[in-house]
């Protein structure tokens, strides 16, 4: 029994290593944070160095859901459906304060944080986040994706997310 679990844990780590720097993100962009997301993804602050250079614009083909920009209550069912259409394993990055907590939109129309709707793994604050800090958080999400895979088989998914600090 010890030998068997040795092999499965090594296999988990191998899969985690493979998933670590091959991020296929689905940039669910709605608002102004999208501009900073594009700035992060383009040549000056590159995301391709983390292996996230090919955004998949389909939830079936993506594993990380980057929610970028303000989500209104009218958009919330759409976001939830997109999240449910993604296949396991999946991670969610809340990019920008509007997705973390609702931002400065303390009103009737904005969802006060998308973690009321879907579980979030990484929170990136900022209005909009500076590309330097958001690329650091992309790297953290890479590490989180490798770590999560290791425990996906045995432990239930935890709802708490990790917060990125701006450098």
């Amino acid at each position: 029994m010890g030998v068997g679990s040795f092999f499965t844990s090594r296999l988990d780590e191998a899969i985690g290593w493979a998933r670590k720097y091959s991020i296929f993100q689905y940039p669910f962009v709605t608002a102004c944070c999208g501009m900073e997301y594009m700035a992060t993804a383009c040549s000056h602050y590159d995301v391709d160095r983390f292996g996230a250079g090919l955004p998949r614009f389909s939830p079936r083909q993506a594993d990380v859901l980057f929610v970028v920009g303000t989500i209104s209550h009218k958009m919330a069912p759409v976001l939830k459906r997109i999240y449910e259409q993604m296949t396991e394993p999946k991670w969610v990055v809340a990019f920008g304060v509007c997705t973390c907590t609702g931002g400065f939109y303390d009103n009737y129309a904005t969802v006060q944080g998308i973690d009321t709707i879907i579980p979030v793994d990484i929170y990136i604050p900022g209005c909009p986040p500076r590309p330097g800090s958001s690329s650091a958080c992309a790297r953290a999400s890479a590490r989180a994706s490798s770590r999560r895979t290791r425990s996906a088989v045995t432990t239930p998914r935890s709802w708490s997310g990790r917060r990125c600090r701006a450098p």
């Binding site: 209550h73 009218k74 919330a76 069912p77 939830k80 303390d106 009103n107 009737y108 129309a109 969802v111 006060q112 009321t116 709707i117 879907i118 579980p119």
Partner: protein
């Protein structure tokens, strides 16, 4: 302007060659409930901004309607853009447009209760469409 005279006046504005207001620039409403000096009297005022391309002049037409009887004749037969503008006024203020072909909410979702841009709607009242997940 009085509400009953509105359709005639708008079609005159559009069709008369000297006036020639062929563009409806904006159709919006104002809530005078908390306006100092104008709180008595009808609550809502529907405002039309018209522009003439040929003559390069503009006009603003205002119609005051009461809260209990907030119905105004529609401008959709004259200007097709009034379709969405009137839907927005209905969504945000609750002023109905008589004869509008598609009276749905425009900016808020369908199940929303209330009219947000009225003065007595608190800005941070939460009405989530999807409740918090367990």
């Amino acid at each position: 302007m009085e509400r009953t005279a509105l359709p005639g006046a708008l079609s005159l504005c559009r069709d008369d060659p000297d006036l020639g207001f062929d563009v409806l620039m904006d159709l919006t409403a104002v809530d005078y409930q908390k306006y100092p000096g104008r709180e008595d009297g009808p609550r809502f005022e529907v405002v039309y901004h018209l522009y003439s391309l040929a003559h390069n002049h503009r006009v603003r037409i205002k119609v005051r309607v009461d809260e209990d009887d907030a119905v105004v004749p529609t401008a959709v037969p004259l200007w097709p853009i009034a379709n969405w503008l009137e839907r927005e006024v209905w969504d945000m203020f609750g002023v109905r447009f008589d004869g509008h072909p598609d009276p749905r909410r425009l900016l808020m979702y369908e199940e929303f209760v209330g009219h947000p841009l009225r003065k007595d709607y608190p800005i941070n009242r939460r009405q989530p469409l999807i409740g918090p997940r367990i």
